[in-house]
């Protein structure tokens, strides 16, 4: 980024191209129209829920402190793995927690999903710091800011030379938990919307009771929620390009791009998932 002759970046990051914005808006509108045509108002409401879920996932990923390979050697702060892996872990944990609470209603299930995702990240972040501090003997020090915005701890005197910081400062821990909670909430929201649609459609198509089709509806909603979760998480990971320390990292300001991309991608994926049974038995 600092190389001589590199293109100047407006405000720290390149904004989306006009074509990108137009494409996203058109895709979202077409998807909303299609969902209304295929499954009427219920489809429209479900697709809006799916888009919100996707946006929450794309936004949440930016909070998670991702260290990548350098973190494994204690040369950069964060958890020592890639964005996709961390997001998948938090999202799936959230999805399990939310799916378990699905019969208790939308609010409780969504809250349960958020707690599940947040809990997984809290445990991961804590254990990462336990290993860093007691196993590798390195203190937590951010390389991007001089002072922790929450605790006020200073970092430069603890930062080793030649590194970008190391360990997991408190602000990154908090970011990880927020990110996990948002991811779990978003994944659960997608799952619940799809489950509602499938539980209404499948008994009619297959001529069976809701209890009989429950395994199919749950499995389909679950696998599609996982698929959409990973698409949104990877798009957000591409937005971050590598490592991020948490909400205090300058890269965090790039999140509007990921929100647009996640909204458009979820709209397209969502309308395909909602229209799953439209061609069943036609050919």
């Amino acid at each position: 980024m600092t190389a001589l002759g590199a293109p100047k970046q407006a405000g720290g990051f390149q904004p989306p191209t006009a074509m990108g914005i137009v494409l996203s808006v058109v895709l979202i509108i077409v998807a909303l129209a299609l969902s209304f045509l295929l499954v009427q108002t219920a489809g429209l409401v479900a697709l809006i829920g799916i888009i919100i879920g996707g946006v929450l996932i794309g936004f949440g990923v930016h909070f998670v402190p991702v260290g990548g390979a350098p973190a494994a050697m204690g040369q950069s702060p964060g958890i020592a793995t890639g964005v996709a892996m961390l997001a998948a872990g938090a999202g799936l944990a959230g999805l399990f927690a939310g799916a378990w609470a699905a019969p208790l209603g939308l609010a409780i299930a969504a809250a349960s999903g958020a707690i599940g995702g947040g809990l997984l990240m809290a445990i991961t972040c804590t254990m990462v710091n336990v290993i860093y501090v007691f196993g590798m003997g390195i203190p937590a020090a951010s390389g991007k800011v001089a002072k922790d915005p929450i605790t006020g701890d200073t970092f430069p005197e603890y930062k080793s030379q030649g590194t970008e910081g190391h360990g997991l400062p408190f602000i990154s821990w908090v970011g990880g938990v927020i990110g996990g909670a948002l991811g779990g909430l978003g994944g659960t929201l997608i799952y619940l919307e799809l489950l509602g649609i499938y539980q209404a459609q499948l008994p009619v198509i297959l001529g069976a009771t809701v209890e009989q089709i429950a395994p199919v509806a749950v499995s389909l909603a679950g696998i599609f929620a996982i698929g959409m979760f990973l698409v949104n998480a990877v798009l957000a990971a591409y937005n971050i390009t590598g490592t991020i320390e948490g909400p205090h990292d300058p890269k965090f300001k790039r999140f509007p791009r990921a929100i647009i991309a996640a909204a458009a991608a979820s709209a397209v994926a969502g309308v395909i998932a909602l229209g799953l049974f439209q061609l069943l038995g036609v050919f």
């Binding site: 199919v216 499995s219 696998i223 990877v234 591409y238 994926a269 050919f283």
Partner: protein, 283 residues
């Protein structure tokens, strides 16, 4: 930007690998359709072979995409491939005999959209992004469809959601004992996601050779096939599942041996050492 991931030059051109992978997996998928004319799904294993053909192609695509240095790790490419692929595969499965065609077209559309979003909204600005994500979505879709077909003997949606179990001598039809209803689709998802990204993730670096990477991709594919063949004992006739299991094991042993040979070849070339030649007729 992060460190450029080194890839070896030379080998079979990517377009050739793509054509072989696409045409091969397409033919293999349609060979499984002949099961409808047989007494038992003896040809189910061709679904697994379709997945292997697609995985070899996918590993080569990931190699091209990741040589640009995404900064997010190679697994993220595998995750977005399967995430978008599973949607296309299950939607395609509802279209009866047209399944492979619809799956490939739909996956290409989803992949192209995610590629455009990655380039124009998230601003990755990587020339190969759109084509690579399109290919990866098709690979992911074929992998899911192929392995699911292998598990239940058919690529038709109703076959994937209905199963039978015998209770006190009576055969009962149920939705729970099926590939989708039983949640096997989630296992297939992860088997495919790991198989697609592992090959290049393991082989990248200086001295990377295309034939070794692709042989590892085929080996991972056969390893996934073994797991799916064991799963398929629950859904299809024992002899058909046994045939699938034997094909998988033989394929795995062959590709594993070839991979070890190629690894030894490259390790020897890398060391720049000369082997000790044993004199003819013993020392």
């Amino acid at each position: 930007m992060t460190v450029k991931v080194e890839v070896g030059a030379g080998g079979v051109p990517h377009n050739k690998v793509m054509i072989y992978g696409l045409v091969g997996s397409f033919i293999f998928l349609y060979l499984t359709y002949l099961n409808t004319y047989l007494q038992a799904p003896y040809l189910a294993f061709f679904g697994g072979l379709a997945a292997v053909a697609a995985l070899v192609w996918g590993a080569d695509t990931i190699k091209h995409l990741c040589s640009y240095g995404l900064g997010t790790g190679v697994p993220s490419a595998g995750m977005i491939a399967l995430g978008s692929g599973v949607l296309a595969a299950l939607f395609g499965a509802t279209t009866g005999v047209l399944t492979p065609i619809v799956t490939i077209i739909l996956a290409a559309i989803i992949g192209a959209i995610t590629g455009l979003l990655a380039n124009h909204v998230v601003r990755m600005d990587i020339p190969a992004m759109v084509s690579s994500l399109t290919e990866l979505a098709i690979v992911g879709a074929i992998t899911v469809l192929g392995l699911a077909t292998m598990a239940c003997g058919t690529f038709e949606f109703l076959g994937m959601i209905t199963g039978t179990f015998t209770f006190l001598g009576f055969t009962v039809q149920t939705y729970g004992m099926s590939v989708i209803g039983g949640g096997v689709i989630a296992v297939i998802f992860m088997l495919g996601a790991i198989a697609i990204q592992h090959a290049f993730n393991a082989c990248l670096g200086p001295g990377e050779k295309q034939d070794r990477t692709l042989m590892l991709a085929a080996e991972c594919g056969f390893l996934s096939m073994i797991t799916v063949a064991i799963i398929s004992f629950a859904f299809i006739e024992t002899y058909a599942a046994l045939l699938a299991f034997l094909v998988s094991v033989i394929g795995w042993i062959y590709t594993y041996k070839r991979y070890i040979d190629l690894s030894k070849r490259d390790a020897y070339a890398w060391l720049d050492a000369k082997p000790i030649i044993e004199p003819k007729g013993g020392a």
